[in-house]
Symmetry: C2
Subunit: 215 residues, 2 copies
Protein backbone atom coordinates (compact mmCIF):
# COMPACT_ATOMS: atom_id res chain seq x y z
CA UNK A 1 0.00 0.00 0.00
CA UNK A 2 1.50 3.34 -1.00
CA UNK A 3 1.38 6.39 1.21
CA UNK A 4 -1.15 7.95 -1.12
CA UNK A 5 -3.38 4.89 -0.90
CA UNK A 6 -3.17 5.00 2.86
CA UNK A 7 -4.03 8.69 3.02
CA UNK A 8 -6.97 8.15 0.71
CA UNK A 9 -8.18 5.31 2.89
CA UNK A 10 -7.96 7.44 6.03
CA UNK A 11 -9.89 10.23 4.32
CA UNK A 12 -12.56 7.81 3.23
CA UNK A 13 -12.88 6.28 6.66
CA UNK A 14 -12.93 9.48 8.64
CA UNK A 15 -15.22 11.57 6.45
CA UNK A 16 -18.05 9.69 4.93
CA UNK A 17 -21.56 9.67 3.66
CA UNK A 18 -24.07 7.73 5.71
CA UNK A 19 -27.13 6.05 4.26
CA UNK A 20 -28.91 5.18 7.50
CA UNK A 21 -32.17 7.01 8.03
CA UNK A 22 -31.50 7.01 11.79
CA UNK A 23 -28.36 9.08 11.18
CA UNK A 24 -30.40 11.62 9.22
CA UNK A 25 -33.04 11.87 11.94
CA UNK A 26 -30.43 12.24 14.69
CA UNK A 27 -28.76 15.16 12.90
CA UNK A 28 -32.02 16.91 12.02
CA UNK A 29 -33.25 16.52 15.60
CA UNK A 30 -30.01 17.81 17.14
CA UNK A 31 -30.21 21.17 15.36
CA UNK A 32 -32.98 23.74 15.15
CA UNK A 33 -31.77 26.10 12.43
CA UNK A 34 -31.01 25.15 8.84
CA UNK A 35 -30.33 26.98 5.61
CA UNK A 36 -33.10 26.73 3.07
CA UNK A 37 -31.78 27.01 -0.48
CA UNK A 38 -33.87 27.39 -3.58
CA UNK A 39 -33.74 28.97 -7.02
CA UNK A 40 -35.35 32.34 -7.72
CA UNK A 41 -35.15 33.70 -11.28
CA UNK A 42 -32.36 31.23 -12.00
CA UNK A 43 -30.23 32.44 -9.11
CA UNK A 44 -29.44 30.62 -5.87
CA UNK A 45 -31.32 31.94 -2.86
CA UNK A 46 -30.61 30.98 0.73
CA UNK A 47 -32.13 31.89 4.08
CA UNK A 48 -31.74 30.51 7.61
CA UNK A 49 -34.92 29.06 9.10
CA UNK A 50 -36.09 27.44 12.29
CA UNK A 51 -37.36 23.96 11.53
CA UNK A 52 -38.39 20.74 13.23
CA UNK A 53 -38.72 17.19 11.99
CA UNK A 54 -41.99 15.43 12.70
CA UNK A 55 -41.77 11.91 11.28
CA UNK A 56 -41.11 12.25 7.56
CA UNK A 57 -42.03 15.93 7.52
CA UNK A 58 -39.77 18.89 8.07
CA UNK A 59 -41.79 21.88 9.22
CA UNK A 60 -40.38 25.33 8.54
CA UNK A 61 -41.82 28.47 9.93
CA UNK A 62 -41.95 32.04 8.74
CA UNK A 63 -44.06 35.16 8.70
CA UNK A 64 -46.22 35.86 5.66
CA UNK A 65 -44.60 39.28 5.82
CA UNK A 66 -41.29 37.60 4.96
CA UNK A 67 -41.39 38.18 1.24
CA UNK A 68 -38.52 35.81 0.66
CA UNK A 69 -40.40 32.81 1.97
CA UNK A 70 -43.27 33.39 -0.43
CA UNK A 71 -40.97 32.51 -3.31
CA UNK A 72 -40.54 29.00 -2.07
CA UNK A 73 -44.02 28.18 -0.89
CA UNK A 74 -45.39 27.43 -4.34
CA UNK A 75 -43.86 24.01 -4.93
CA UNK A 76 -40.40 25.27 -5.75
CA UNK A 77 -37.59 22.71 -5.53
CA UNK A 78 -35.59 23.33 -2.39
CA UNK A 79 -32.72 21.98 -0.32
CA UNK A 80 -32.48 22.31 3.44
CA UNK A 81 -28.92 22.12 4.72
CA UNK A 82 -28.24 21.47 8.41
CA UNK A 83 -24.73 21.48 9.89
CA UNK A 84 -23.42 20.84 13.39
CA UNK A 85 -19.79 21.82 13.81
CA UNK A 86 -18.35 19.44 16.40
CA UNK A 87 -14.69 20.35 16.38
CA UNK A 88 -11.68 21.83 14.68
CA UNK A 89 -9.25 19.17 13.48
CA UNK A 90 -5.58 20.15 13.64
CA UNK A 91 -3.17 17.99 11.68
CA UNK A 92 0.63 18.21 11.68
CA UNK A 93 0.47 19.92 8.30
CA UNK A 94 -1.78 22.62 6.88
CA UNK A 95 -3.21 20.49 4.10
CA UNK A 96 -4.90 18.01 6.43
CA UNK A 97 -6.54 20.51 8.74
CA UNK A 98 -10.25 19.86 8.77
CA UNK A 99 -13.37 19.93 10.90
CA UNK A 100 -15.47 17.33 12.63
CA UNK A 101 -19.11 17.84 11.79
CA UNK A 102 -22.46 16.26 11.16
CA UNK A 103 -24.35 17.51 8.13
CA UNK A 104 -27.55 16.70 6.32
CA UNK A 105 -29.13 18.01 3.14
CA UNK A 106 -32.78 17.22 2.42
CA UNK A 107 -34.03 17.90 -1.09
CA UNK A 108 -37.60 18.13 -2.29
CA UNK A 109 -40.46 20.39 -3.29
CA UNK A 110 -41.67 22.74 -0.58
CA UNK A 111 -45.38 22.67 0.08
CA UNK A 112 -47.51 25.08 2.10
CA UNK A 113 -49.24 23.68 5.13
CA UNK A 114 -53.00 24.28 4.55
CA UNK A 115 -54.40 27.09 6.71
CA UNK A 116 -56.64 24.72 8.68
CA UNK A 117 -53.58 22.69 9.64
CA UNK A 118 -51.27 25.58 10.47
CA UNK A 119 -52.38 25.62 14.11
CA UNK A 120 -51.38 21.97 14.51
CA UNK A 121 -48.14 22.57 12.59
CA UNK A 122 -47.19 25.48 14.86
CA UNK A 123 -47.78 23.31 17.93
CA UNK A 124 -45.78 20.42 16.45
CA UNK A 125 -42.92 22.76 15.60
CA UNK A 126 -42.98 24.22 19.10
CA UNK A 127 -43.13 20.81 20.77
CA UNK A 128 -40.10 19.67 18.80
CA UNK A 129 -38.03 22.81 19.47
CA UNK A 130 -39.07 23.47 23.09
CA UNK A 131 -40.80 20.37 24.48
CA UNK A 132 -43.70 21.26 26.76
CA UNK A 133 -43.86 24.95 25.90
CA UNK A 134 -47.10 24.68 23.92
CA UNK A 135 -48.97 23.60 27.06
CA UNK A 136 -47.68 26.57 29.08
CA UNK A 137 -48.86 29.45 26.88
CA UNK A 138 -51.92 30.37 24.90
CA UNK A 139 -52.06 29.01 21.37
CA UNK A 140 -52.07 31.31 18.36
CA UNK A 141 -55.22 33.27 17.52
CA UNK A 142 -56.96 32.89 14.18
CA UNK A 143 -55.55 36.25 13.12
CA UNK A 144 -52.03 35.22 14.08
CA UNK A 145 -52.35 31.93 12.23
CA UNK A 146 -53.46 33.82 9.13
CA UNK A 147 -50.18 35.74 9.32
CA UNK A 148 -48.17 32.54 9.71
CA UNK A 149 -46.73 30.76 6.72
CA UNK A 150 -45.93 27.17 7.55
CA UNK A 151 -44.18 25.26 4.81
CA UNK A 152 -42.93 21.72 4.81
CA UNK A 153 -40.48 19.48 3.06
CA UNK A 154 -41.02 15.73 2.93
CA UNK A 155 -38.14 13.36 3.59
CA UNK A 156 -38.22 10.94 0.65
CA UNK A 157 -36.00 7.94 -0.12
CA UNK A 158 -33.10 9.18 -2.23
CA UNK A 159 -33.96 12.76 -1.35
CA UNK A 160 -31.33 13.32 1.32
CA UNK A 161 -27.61 13.13 1.99
CA UNK A 162 -25.78 12.77 5.28
CA UNK A 163 -22.08 13.38 5.73
CA UNK A 164 -20.18 13.04 8.98
CA UNK A 165 -16.59 13.49 10.07
CA UNK A 166 -15.83 12.29 13.57
CA UNK A 167 -12.17 11.33 13.82
CA UNK A 168 -8.67 12.45 14.76
CA UNK A 169 -6.63 14.27 12.11
CA UNK A 170 -5.11 12.30 9.28
CA UNK A 171 -1.86 10.85 10.58
CA UNK A 172 0.62 12.77 8.44
CA UNK A 173 4.17 12.19 9.67
CA UNK A 174 2.89 10.57 12.88
CA UNK A 175 5.54 12.31 14.98
CA UNK A 176 4.67 11.77 18.68
CA UNK A 177 6.39 15.01 19.63
CA UNK A 178 4.33 17.26 17.32
CA UNK A 179 0.93 18.08 18.73
CA UNK A 180 -2.03 17.23 16.51
CA UNK A 181 -5.59 16.63 17.59
CA UNK A 182 -9.10 17.93 17.87
CA UNK A 183 -10.55 20.97 19.64
CA UNK A 184 -14.14 19.92 20.39
CA UNK A 185 -16.92 22.48 20.03
CA UNK A 186 -20.25 22.34 21.81
CA UNK A 187 -23.31 24.55 22.18
CA UNK A 188 -24.43 25.37 25.71
CA UNK A 189 -27.28 27.37 27.19
CA UNK A 190 -26.69 30.24 29.57
CA UNK A 191 -29.02 31.30 32.36
CA UNK A 192 -32.47 32.25 31.02
CA UNK A 193 -33.09 36.02 30.84
CA UNK A 194 -36.64 37.05 31.71
CA UNK A 195 -38.41 39.66 29.59
CA UNK A 196 -38.34 43.21 31.03
CA UNK A 197 -42.00 43.11 32.16
CA UNK A 198 -41.76 39.75 33.95
CA UNK A 199 -41.45 39.75 37.76
CA UNK A 200 -38.21 38.44 39.22
CA UNK A 201 -40.32 36.12 41.37
CA UNK A 202 -42.20 34.56 38.44
CA UNK A 203 -41.00 30.95 38.32
CA UNK A 204 -39.02 29.75 35.32
CA UNK A 205 -41.33 27.23 33.63
CA UNK A 206 -40.64 23.53 33.31
CA UNK A 207 -39.97 23.75 29.54
CA UNK A 208 -37.17 26.26 30.09
CA UNK A 209 -35.66 24.34 33.01
CA UNK A 210 -35.60 21.27 30.74
CA UNK A 211 -33.86 23.19 27.91
CA UNK A 212 -31.17 24.44 30.25
CA UNK A 213 -30.55 21.09 31.91
CA UNK A 214 -30.51 18.88 28.83
CA UNK A 215 -26.88 19.60 27.99
CA UNK B 1 -51.83 53.24 17.49
CA UNK B 2 -53.67 49.94 17.19
CA UNK B 3 -52.40 46.70 18.70
CA UNK B 4 -51.52 45.46 15.25
CA UNK B 5 -49.51 48.58 14.53
CA UNK B 6 -47.69 48.16 17.79
CA UNK B 7 -46.90 44.50 17.15
CA UNK B 8 -45.64 45.33 13.68
CA UNK B 9 -43.43 48.02 15.11
CA UNK B 10 -42.00 45.67 17.72
CA UNK B 11 -41.29 43.06 15.05
CA UNK B 12 -39.58 45.64 12.91
CA UNK B 13 -37.44 46.90 15.75
CA UNK B 14 -36.39 43.53 17.10
CA UNK B 15 -35.66 41.72 13.87
CA UNK B 16 -34.04 43.78 11.24
CA UNK B 17 -31.78 44.01 8.27
CA UNK B 18 -28.51 45.84 8.77
CA UNK B 19 -26.70 47.71 6.05
CA UNK B 20 -23.42 48.35 7.86
CA UNK B 21 -20.42 46.58 6.37
CA UNK B 22 -18.95 46.24 9.88
CA UNK B 23 -21.96 44.13 10.89
CA UNK B 24 -21.37 41.83 7.93
CA UNK B 25 -17.68 41.42 8.74
CA UNK B 26 -18.39 40.74 12.42
CA UNK B 27 -20.82 37.95 11.59
CA UNK B 28 -18.61 36.38 8.94
CA UNK B 29 -15.62 36.49 11.29
CA UNK B 30 -17.53 34.99 14.23
CA UNK B 31 -18.42 31.79 12.35
CA UNK B 32 -16.28 29.32 10.46
CA UNK B 33 -18.83 27.17 8.64
CA UNK B 34 -21.40 28.41 6.14
CA UNK B 35 -23.77 26.85 3.66
CA UNK B 36 -22.81 27.39 0.05
CA UNK B 37 -25.85 27.35 -2.22
CA UNK B 38 -25.80 27.29 -5.97
CA UNK B 39 -27.84 26.02 -8.91
CA UNK B 40 -26.97 22.76 -10.66
CA UNK B 41 -29.10 21.70 -13.62
CA UNK B 42 -31.76 24.15 -12.53
CA UNK B 43 -32.00 22.66 -9.05
CA UNK B 44 -30.85 24.16 -5.75
CA UNK B 45 -27.67 22.64 -4.39
CA UNK B 46 -26.29 23.27 -0.91
CA UNK B 47 -23.20 22.13 0.97
CA UNK B 48 -21.58 23.19 4.26
CA UNK B 49 -18.08 24.59 3.89
CA UNK B 50 -15.32 25.97 6.05
CA UNK B 51 -14.58 29.53 5.04
CA UNK B 52 -12.73 32.62 6.16
CA UNK B 53 -13.01 36.27 5.24
CA UNK B 54 -9.84 38.06 4.21
CA UNK B 55 -10.73 41.67 3.45
CA UNK B 56 -13.31 41.62 0.67
CA UNK B 57 -12.65 37.99 -0.19
CA UNK B 58 -14.32 34.93 1.27
CA UNK B 59 -12.08 31.91 0.86
CA UNK B 60 -13.72 28.49 0.75
CA UNK B 61 -11.83 25.28 0.88
CA UNK B 62 -12.51 21.83 -0.47
CA UNK B 63 -10.86 18.75 -1.89
CA UNK B 64 -10.74 18.35 -5.66
CA UNK B 65 -12.14 14.90 -4.92
CA UNK B 66 -15.31 16.60 -3.71
CA UNK B 67 -17.28 16.33 -6.95
CA UNK B 68 -19.91 18.69 -5.68
CA UNK B 69 -17.53 21.60 -5.35
CA UNK B 70 -16.43 21.31 -8.96
CA UNK B 71 -19.90 22.38 -10.05
CA UNK B 72 -19.47 25.75 -8.46
CA UNK B 73 -15.87 26.54 -9.32
CA UNK B 74 -16.58 27.61 -12.86
CA UNK B 75 -18.08 31.02 -12.25
CA UNK B 76 -21.48 29.76 -11.17
CA UNK B 77 -23.65 32.21 -9.24
CA UNK B 78 -23.62 31.28 -5.57
CA UNK B 79 -24.87 32.39 -2.18
CA UNK B 80 -23.03 31.74 1.07
CA UNK B 81 -25.32 31.72 4.09
CA UNK B 82 -23.86 32.04 7.59
CA UNK B 83 -25.99 31.82 10.74
CA UNK B 84 -25.17 32.13 14.42
CA UNK B 85 -28.02 31.02 16.67
CA UNK B 86 -27.78 33.15 19.82
CA UNK B 87 -30.86 32.17 21.73
CA UNK B 88 -34.36 30.75 21.82
CA UNK B 89 -36.98 33.44 22.36
CA UNK B 90 -39.99 32.36 24.42
CA UNK B 91 -43.02 34.63 24.28
CA UNK B 92 -46.21 34.31 26.32
CA UNK B 93 -47.97 32.88 23.27
CA UNK B 94 -46.92 30.38 20.64
CA UNK B 95 -47.19 32.77 17.73
CA UNK B 96 -44.45 35.08 18.95
CA UNK B 97 -41.87 32.44 19.78
CA UNK B 98 -38.72 33.17 17.84
CA UNK B 99 -34.94 32.99 17.91
CA UNK B 100 -32.17 35.50 18.42
CA UNK B 101 -29.59 35.15 15.69
CA UNK B 102 -27.07 36.86 13.47
CA UNK B 103 -27.17 35.90 9.81
CA UNK B 104 -25.46 36.95 6.63
CA UNK B 105 -25.89 35.95 3.01
CA UNK B 106 -23.21 36.89 0.50
CA UNK B 107 -24.08 36.55 -3.18
CA UNK B 108 -21.76 36.50 -6.13
CA UNK B 109 -19.97 34.42 -8.72
CA UNK B 110 -17.52 31.88 -7.32
CA UNK B 111 -14.07 31.96 -8.79
CA UNK B 112 -11.26 29.45 -8.46
CA UNK B 113 -8.11 30.62 -6.78
CA UNK B 114 -5.31 30.15 -9.34
CA UNK B 115 -3.02 27.19 -8.53
CA UNK B 116 -0.03 29.44 -7.91
CA UNK B 117 -2.02 31.33 -5.28
CA UNK B 118 -3.58 28.32 -3.55
CA UNK B 119 -0.67 28.02 -1.12
CA UNK B 120 -1.19 31.59 0.04
CA UNK B 121 -4.95 31.08 0.16
CA UNK B 122 -4.58 27.98 2.32
CA UNK B 123 -2.37 29.89 4.75
CA UNK B 124 -4.78 32.85 4.84
CA UNK B 125 -7.69 30.52 5.49
CA UNK B 126 -5.77 28.77 8.26
CA UNK B 127 -4.64 32.04 9.86
CA UNK B 128 -8.24 33.26 9.97
CA UNK B 129 -9.68 30.03 11.38
CA UNK B 130 -6.86 29.10 13.77
CA UNK B 131 -4.58 32.12 14.27
CA UNK B 132 -0.94 31.12 14.52
CA UNK B 133 -1.36 27.52 13.41
CA UNK B 134 0.29 28.03 10.00
CA UNK B 135 3.59 28.90 11.70
CA UNK B 136 3.54 25.74 13.82
CA UNK B 137 3.26 23.08 11.12
CA UNK B 138 4.72 22.38 7.71
CA UNK B 139 2.94 24.02 4.81
CA UNK B 140 1.24 21.98 2.11
CA UNK B 141 3.36 20.17 -0.47
CA UNK B 142 3.03 20.85 -4.17
CA UNK B 143 1.16 17.57 -4.56
CA UNK B 144 -1.23 18.44 -1.77
CA UNK B 145 -1.88 21.88 -3.22
CA UNK B 146 -2.71 20.29 -6.55
CA UNK B 147 -5.40 18.28 -4.77
CA UNK B 148 -6.78 21.39 -3.09
CA UNK B 149 -9.57 23.37 -4.66
CA UNK B 150 -9.67 26.85 -3.23
CA UNK B 151 -12.57 28.96 -4.39
CA UNK B 152 -13.52 32.46 -3.42
CA UNK B 153 -16.46 34.79 -3.36
CA UNK B 154 -15.99 38.55 -3.45
CA UNK B 155 -17.98 40.79 -1.13
CA UNK B 156 -19.45 43.44 -3.40
CA UNK B 157 -21.67 46.44 -2.59
CA UNK B 158 -25.28 45.29 -2.87
CA UNK B 159 -24.17 41.67 -2.90
CA UNK B 160 -24.93 40.83 0.68
CA UNK B 161 -27.67 40.86 3.29
CA UNK B 162 -27.41 40.88 7.07
CA UNK B 163 -30.29 40.14 9.40
CA UNK B 164 -30.10 40.17 13.17
CA UNK B 165 -32.54 39.55 15.99
CA UNK B 166 -31.24 40.44 19.43
CA UNK B 167 -34.15 41.29 21.70
CA UNK B 168 -36.60 40.02 24.31
CA UNK B 169 -39.79 38.36 23.06
CA UNK B 170 -42.58 40.53 21.69
CA UNK B 171 -44.54 41.80 24.64
CA UNK B 172 -47.84 39.98 24.07
CA UNK B 173 -50.13 40.38 27.08
CA UNK B 174 -47.27 41.76 29.19
CA UNK B 175 -48.39 39.78 32.26
CA UNK B 176 -45.61 40.04 34.91
CA UNK B 177 -46.63 36.67 36.37
CA UNK B 178 -46.22 34.69 33.14
CA UNK B 179 -42.61 33.85 32.38
CA UNK B 180 -41.33 34.94 29.00
CA UNK B 181 -37.76 35.56 28.01
CA UNK B 182 -34.68 34.32 26.21
CA UNK B 183 -32.58 31.18 26.65
CA UNK B 184 -29.13 32.25 25.41
CA UNK B 185 -27.06 29.79 23.38
CA UNK B 186 -23.30 29.86 23.07
CA UNK B 187 -20.59 27.71 21.51
CA UNK B 188 -17.75 26.61 23.79
CA UNK B 189 -14.61 24.57 23.29
CA UNK B 190 -13.87 21.49 25.35
CA UNK B 191 -10.42 20.27 26.33
CA UNK B 192 -8.28 19.52 23.25
CA UNK B 193 -7.96 15.80 22.45
CA UNK B 194 -4.53 14.80 21.16
CA UNK B 195 -4.27 12.42 18.20
CA UNK B 196 -3.62 8.76 19.14
CA UNK B 197 0.06 8.85 18.09
CA UNK B 198 0.93 12.03 20.00
CA UNK B 199 2.72 11.70 23.34
CA UNK B 200 0.84 12.80 26.44
CA UNK B 201 3.85 14.98 27.29
CA UNK B 202 3.85 16.83 23.95
CA UNK B 203 2.87 20.41 24.80
CA UNK B 204 -0.39 21.81 23.49
CA UNK B 205 0.67 24.53 21.05
CA UNK B 206 0.00 28.23 21.45
CA UNK B 207 -2.60 28.30 18.65
CA UNK B 208 -4.72 25.69 20.43
CA UNK B 209 -4.36 27.33 23.83
CA UNK B 210 -5.56 30.56 22.24
CA UNK B 211 -8.60 28.85 20.66
CA UNK B 212 -9.63 27.33 23.97
CA UNK B 213 -9.18 30.51 25.98
CA UNK B 214 -10.84 32.96 23.60
CA UNK B 215 -14.36 32.23 24.82
Amino acid sequence: MTTTDRLDRIHRLSERARADRDDLDAILDAASVGTLATVVDGLPWAVPMLYARVGDRILLHGSTGAGALRHVAAGAPAALSVTLLDGLVLADNLYNHSANYRSAVVRGALTSVPTDESDAALIELSDALIPGRSTEVRVASRKELAATLAVELTIAPGGWTVKVRDAPPSEGAGDPDVWAGVVPLRTVTDDPIRAPWVNATTPVPESVRRLVSRE
